[in-house]
Each structure stands twice: as structure tokens, then as C-alpha cells.
């Protein structure tokens, strides 16, 4: 037993706890957190009482009070959570202690886990510190314990994801200033899309429980992805990439399984689940676009031995996965998702190749950025698609461009064809550029 405890002990976490909680700034940050939440609690409780003085309206005041505290803590977390990790690894590099850490017997994953553990502890501490203030809501009513705990869980998940994103950037960059800048810039976009999704979930009506399950699963996937991506930035290893791809594969199969289960067992939610399955494909492809080949020759050889490294495998798998709606669900939406996914699979396979070159040229980066823009947007807009049953299939699950074309054209049924043509064109252009780049490279080498 003692051996197991010793094996689970993480020296980085112990060190971060020792050093981190000794620092005055951590203490001040916690004080500032509580003071700001207390101020908002005071103002919002006054405002809530002002409009709901009658006894029967107190639950309304309670809801208002809880909402105010939720949003202020969400804002605070967006600012504070990344700052806990943006200098976690880059700071080690700046301090010149990184090499010493790498030559110890610590695995890169332990290093990242230790750094993340400290950030998570602080976030949990901060969220617990405001519980006494928030508990006022139980005097007012209108918020159940489950709802209260769910709110806290959402805040925790948001905070942890923000800190993981900061950690990933910190592992990628050599300088903390760059890591901080890139983290907050990235979070501006992510928070915007995240807020849309959050608004949909918090204020949407009759949202099936299954949707919460799928969203939770997706968040877990993103967290695991960010974690292992950070690990791989620390030291590029074939096994890290294999883990990343295995997580993607597991997640994908789980989503497909959930969709199939919902189709057979819960006929009322089939559209919602398949609509979710669209964004999941976007997300999976989008994240898989990251370079998936280690720079070190020996690790590259190890990685290339795995079937997970083969774009053909992914294209086949995703094609089969996307064909499933055709066999299970006989509607236009399923067809649209299927066709989109097929094209997306081809494109992502090509981008994965392009980006994994030793010295990536500018074109895959530009096209990669365009690709992400086209795909991340609909991933989040599609969450808002559950009540739009007026369309035979939901154009938002294709891409903003095809959606605009469809609306401008006034014939939504033509959109899948346009989408197919668009992605096929993108794939062919990319392939042509890729061949040209390789030819130039060979000429240079010659």
C-alpha cells in the first residue's frame, strides 16, 4: 500500500504547493477573489430584493442572485485560471531549470500533472471560499442544491479548462510573455463560443439529458487533449502522440455509440444527437489537424509504425462513422452530416500531412487557420440548432460559408452539394500545393 502511495506521489505537485501557497500574491489573489464576489453579492442581493420584496417573489430574487454570482465568477475564472499556468513550463525554461527537470526520472506527464494539480487546487480553493457567500441563496429559495452544485461544477470545469489551455501554451512557448498573450487571445475566441454554448445550456428549454452527457464527454475530451498536447510539447514522443490519438478514437467511438443508442432507444432526441455528432466531427478533425509527427527521427519511426498514425485509417473510420446516419436515420440532416464528414475527413488527412512536415511551409498554416475558422464556428453554432426543425437538415452544421450560400440561394437542399464541392476543391488545392512543395524540397536537396 505504502509503495502505491509513494508511486502516486508527485514531487512537482508537492513543490508547487510548497512554493505556490507561500507566495503573497496567491494569498492576495484569493482575498481579491472573495472581496469581488462579496461586492457583487451585496449589490446583486440589494438589486434582487428591490424588485422582489414580496415573500412569494423571493425565489425569483434567489435565482437572480445566483446568476449574478455565477457570471462574475466565470469572468474572474477566465482572467485568473490561465494566469496560474501560463508561466508554469515557460517559467522553468526562463529560469534555466527546465533541463535539470528533464534529466531527472520524472515523466513529462508527471511534470504537467504536477503543474496542473496546483492550478486545480487553487481554483477549487477559490470556488470553495465563496460558498458561504453563495449559500445566502438557500435563504431566498429558487435554487435547488442540485442546481447549486451543477453551477459550481460548470465553474470548476471552465476554470480547469482555462488553466489547461494556459498550461498547453506555456509548454509550447519558450517565453511566459508569449504564452500569456497567446492564451488570453485564444481564450477571447474560446470564451465567446463557450459562452454561446453555456447560454444555450443554461437558458435552453427541454434540453435532453443526453445532450449534457455529450457536452460533458466533449469537455473531458478537450481537457485530455490539452493535457497530452502539453506533455508532447515538453518532449516529443511517439507514445504521447499515440495516447492523443487513442483518446480521440475512444471519444469518437463513444459519441457514435451514444448517437446510435439515442437513435434506437430515444426516438425523440435523434435529431439533437445527430446534430451534436456533427460538431463532434468538426472538433475531432480540428484538433487532429495539429502536427502529428515527432521531430526526432527515432520517435518518428516509432510513431509511424502505429496504425493510429495513418491518415487512411482515420479517413476510413470517419467515413464509416459518418455513413452510419444513412443506415440508421433516413433524413436529410443525416445525409448532410455524412457528406460533410467525408469531405472533412479527406481535408483533415491532408492537413495532418501538410502540418506534420519537418519545416511546415506557410500554405498549410494559412489553410489550417482557414480550416479551423470554418470548422470551430459551426461546432458551436450547431449547439443552438435543436429547436430549428423548420429546415430539413441544419445548414449550420456544414460551415458558415455554405450556410450563407444556402440562405442567400433560398434553396437549403442544394447546400450539401455546395459543401461537398467546397471541401473537395479545398482538398485538391491543398494536394496540389503539397506536391509542389515536395517537388521544391527535393530540388533544393538535389
Amino acid at each position: 500500500m505504502a509503495n502505491w502511495v509513494e508511486k502516486l506521489e508527485n514531487p512537482v505537485l508537492v513543490k508547487e504547493m510548497r512554493v505556490g501557497f507561500r507566495e503573497k500574491k496567491v494569498f492576495y489573489a484569493l482575498i481579491a477573489w472573495v472581496v469581488i464576489v462579496a461586492l457583487v453579492a451585496s449589490i446583486s442581493s440589494l438589486a434582487a430584493f428591490e424588485g422582489n420584496k414580496q415573500l412569494d417573489k423571493l425565489p425569483e430574487a434567489g435565482k437572480y442572485f445566483m446568476e449574478a454570482l455565477f457570471w462574475v465568477q466565470l469572468g474572474l475564472l477566465a482572467m485568473l485560471a490561465p494566469s496560474l499556468t501560463t508561466s508554469a513550463v515557460s517559467g522553468e525554461r526562463e529560469r534555466k531549470s527546465f533541463d535539470m527537470l528533464l534529466t531527472t526520472h520524472l515523466a513529462p506527464s508527471e511534470l504537467i500533472y504536477g503543474k496542473f494539480g496546483f492550478a486545480a487546487s487553487f481554483i477549487i480553493l477559490a470556488l470553495c471560499a465563496t460558498v458561504p457567500l453563495e449559500s445566502i441563496v438557500f435563504f431566498l429559495g429558487g435554487v435547488s442544491l442540485v442546481s447549486f452544485l451543477t453551477t459550481k461544477l460548470i465553474l470548476l470545469a471552465f476554470g480547469l479548462l482555462c488553466s489547461l489551455y494556459g498550461l498547453m501554451m506555456s509548454a509550447r512557448e519558450n517565453r511566459s510573455a508569449y504564452a500569456t498573450g497567446q492564451t488570453y487571445l485564444g481564450l477571447v475566441f474560446i470564451c465567446w463560443f463557450g459562452l454561446m454554448g453555456l447560454l444555450g445550456l443554461r437558458y435552453g428549454e427541454d434540453i435532453p439529458l443526453l445532450v449534457y452527457f455529450v457536452v460533458g464527454l466533449t469537455l473531458l475530451y478537450i481537457a485530455l487533449f490539452l493535457f497530452w498536447k502539453a506533455v508532447n510539447h515538453l518532449e516529443e514522443r511517439a507514445r504521447h502522440l499515440k495516447i492523443l490519438l487513442s483518446i480521440g478514437l475512444t471519444f469518437y467511438l463513444l459519441i457514435l455509440g451514444t448517437a446510435a443508442f439515442a437513435q434506437y432507444s430515444l426516438p425523440d432526441v435523434d435529431d439533437a444527437v445527430w446534430a451534436i455528432s456533427g460538431p463532434v466531427h468538426y472538433l475531432l478533425f480540428g484538433l487532429l489537424l495539429n502536427p502529428m509527427r515527432p521531430a526526432r527521427k527515432i520517435e518518428r519511426r516509432r510513431f509511424e509504425k502505429s496504425f493510429l498514425s495513418r491518415p487512411v485509417f482515420w479517413v476510413l473510420l470517419l467515413t464509416v462513422g459518418l455513413m452510419l446516419p444513412l443506415t440508421i436515420c433516413d433524413n436529410d440532416r443525416a445525409l448532410a452530416i455524412c457528406l460533410y464528414g467525408l469531405m472533412a475527413g479527406l481535408c483533415s488527412a491532408w492537413f495532418a500531412r501538410g502540418l506534420s512536415l519537418n519545416k511546415p511551409a506557410r500554405y498549410p498554416q494559412i489553410l489550417g487557420a482557414v480550416w479551423l475558422l470554418l470548422n470551430v464556428l459551426p461546432a458551436f453554432t450547431a449547439i443552438d440548432s435543436f429547436d430549428r426543425y423548420s429546415h430539413a437538415w441544419h445548414p449550420a452544421t456544414i460551415s458558415p460559408i455554405t450556410m450563407l450560400i444556402a440562405y442567400a440561394d433560398g434553396h437549403a437542399s442544394t447546400t450539401p452539394n455546395i459543401a461537398v464541392a467546397f471541401y473537395l476543391g479545398l482538398f485538391l488545392v491543398g494536394q496540389a500545393l503539397h506536391i509542389r512543395f515536395n517537388r521544391k524540397k527535393k530540388n533544393r536537396a538535389g
Binding site: 509513494e6 506521489e9 514531487p11 512537482v12 508537492v14 513543490k15 510548497r18 512554493v19 507561500r22 507566495e23 526562463e94 529560469r95 534555466k96 531549470s97 533541463d99 535539470m100 527537470l101 528533464l102 534529466t103 531527472t104 526520472h105 520524472l106 526526432r296 527521427k297 527515432i298
Partner: protein
């Protein structure tokens, strides 16, 4: 214990290491000499599994740096030339962190920490915060953390750089102690006298190329075709100089009449040199000093790198 075969490291168009071949036996203390930018740190980082060579192979204790970096890290203690310490940590906490990182069993950590603190003479500073330590003490602390897991091989990159003379002497004594403990040590420096005391083998690196490597005495003997002799007389310096000038094995004679000192290069055997000393021992000259100049590592380095322009 350490083998490099044709290691080359290229950064763009710049060749940092050019086909380096090197062999270090178990128990050797190998001094890596070379000016800044010669490729010493690059070599050490490759051997410490922190850098991949562009071509060539390197092994430490029969493990390839490319294939089995984890195994090498168990054998190896690496001390970088520049390193930072964590503020807000006490000396023992700093060592406890690295003991954990080196996977030392929890029960044996206090003893291991006490041992390295004693070896590096930092026992008194156990409860001090690391930011309060002087540069010399931080260097010793870094060495202490490198020794925690009792590595067979030590790679020390400029361990005495930035130290004052006293701290440098202390560091030298510490390194001598490690040599006595039978560790295989690879140490780099561009301050040559600090290596000459305890290195049994050296390698001279310049512009990414290994110019020479081997036992210090062998390299000295190869380079020293002529012995440099200094003679101090009480009188008749001019007469002695005239006699030496005509000697068949004497060349490059330099006379300092004010100090009554003669310096010359001698190309003969030791028996011939004994005859010269006997001749000068004649009471006419009043011989009070006759010695062979010792060539140190600085002279050696200047000799082997003569004519090489980076």
C-alpha cells in the same frame, strides 16, 4: 562508459559539432577544453539526452542516447552551465524535490539529503532559503542535487564559472573528492588551471572539432618536442650564455643579465641534460637554480589550437 561516434550537430548552416569521436572509460575524469562556442555544451547536452545529434551515435553505459534516454537518465547526473533555483524553497526542500524526481524511496531521502549536504559542505545551510545563498553555494547546491541518486556518470558543464577564487578552490576540492569516489566525470571549462589538478584525460575542442584527446601526460609529451630549461646563476652569466650558445642541443637562448637568468630550449636526452647541469654546477658560475619549465594546460591548449581560426 561514454562513446561518441561521428556526432555532428547542425543548426541551419552552422555546424556546432563536426564528426566528433570520443571515448571515456569508467572512472575517468575527462576535461573538456575549448573556448566559448567550441561545442562543449552541445556535446554534453547530446550525452545528457537533451539534444538529438544531426548524425552519428552516442552511448552512455551501453545505452544509446537516441534509443534509451530514460535508462541513461538513471545513470547520469547533469549539471548545466546556467541554472536557476526555485525561490521560496529551503535548501532541504529543494533537495527533497529532486530526490522525489529521481525516484528515491521516501524513507531513504533524509539520509541521501544529509549525505550530499555534508559532501558539498552545505549542512549548515539546510534551513536557508535558496535565494539567500551565494553564487558559490548555489553551484554546490546544484552539484548536491546532481549527486542525490548516486549517478555513475557526472556531466558537469562549467561548474566553476562565475565563482570567486575561494569558491573555485572549494569546488575543485569537491570535484577531487568525487574523482576519488570513482565516478566517471566529464567536465568542461575554459578556465584551464581548474581542470589540470584532477583530470586524467582531456579533449580539446575547437570550432566543433575534436583536435586532440587522451591522457594529459601523453598529450604533453607529444607536444613537447623540446624541454624548456631555466637556469639561475650568481655570476658569469655572459660566459655561461656563450657556452650554452655553442652547445649542440641548445636553442632559443634568452638571457636576462639583471636577474642572472638564462632560459633555453633543450633537444637532447636526459643524460645530455645531466651533463649540462654538471657543467654549469662549476663554482665559476655559482649555480643556484636549474629547473625544467612545466607546461600547463593553458600552454597545451594554445599549442594545439595554434593556427586554427574559427
Amino acid at each position: 562508459m561514454i562513446q561518441c561516434r561521428g556526432i555532428t550537430k547542425v543548426y541551419g548552416d552552422f555546424v556546432a559539432l563536426d564528426s566528433l569521436d570520443l571515448e571515456i572509460e569508467k572512472g575517468d575524469t575527462f576535461g573538456f577544453i575549448g573556448p566559448n562556442g567550441a561545442g562543449k555544451t552541445t556535446t554534453m547536452r547530446i550525452l545528457s539526452t537533451l539534444l538529438e545529434p544531426s548524425s552519428g551515435t552516442a552511448t552512455v553505459g551501453e545505452y544509446s542516447v537516441l534509443e534509451h534516454p530514460e535508462e541513461i537518465r538513471k545513470l547520469l547526473g547533469y549539471m548545466p552551465d546556467k541554472f536557476g533555483v526555485y525561490d521560496g524553497m529551503k535548501v532541504w526542500e529543494y533537495l527533497d524535490f529532486f530526490a522525489g524526481a529521481y525516484r528515491l524511496p521516501k524513507a531513504s531521502r533524509p539520509q541521501a539529503i544529509a549525505d550530499v549536504l555534508e559532501l558539498t559542505e552545505l549542512s549548515q545551510k539546510r534551513e536557508f532559503f535558496v535565494e539567500a545563498l551565494s553564487t558559490g553555494m548555489r553551484q554546490r547546491l546544484c552539484l548536491a542535487k546532481t549527486l542525490l541518486h548516486d549517478p555513475q556518470v557526472l556531466i558537469l558543464d562549467e561548474p566553476a564559472s562565475g565563482l570567486d577564487p575561494r569558491a573555485r578552490i572549494e569546488m575543485r576540492e569537491l570535484l577531487k573528492e568525487l574523482t576519488r569516489m570513482g565516478k566517471t566525470i566529464m567536465i568542461s571549462s575554459h578556465i584551464l588551471p581548474e581542470l589540470s589538478d584532477f583530470c586524467n584525460r582531456i579533449g580539446v575542442l575547437e570550432a566543433g572539432k575534436l583536435i586532440t584527446a587522451g591522457k594529459v601526460d601523453d598529450i604533453m609529451a607529444t607536444l613537447q618536442s623540446d624541454r624548456r630549461i631555466t637556469v639561475k646563476l650568481l655570476r658569469e652569466v655572459e660566459k655561461a650564455a656563450e657556452w650554452l650558445q655553442n652547445h649542440e642541443h641548445v636553442s632559443d637562448l634568452d638571457v636576462e643579465p639583471q636577474k642572472s637568468i638564462l632560459r633555453f630550449a633543450f633537444s637532447g636526452e636526459l643524460d645530455d641534460l645531466a651533463l649540462v647541469s654538471q657543467s654549469l654546477a662549476d663554482p665559476t658560475y655559482g649555480l643556484i637554480g636549474f629547473e625544467e619549465d612545466k607546461t600547463d594546460l593553458e600552454d597545451l591548449f594554445l599549442k594545439v589550437t595554434e593556427g586554427i581560426v574559427r
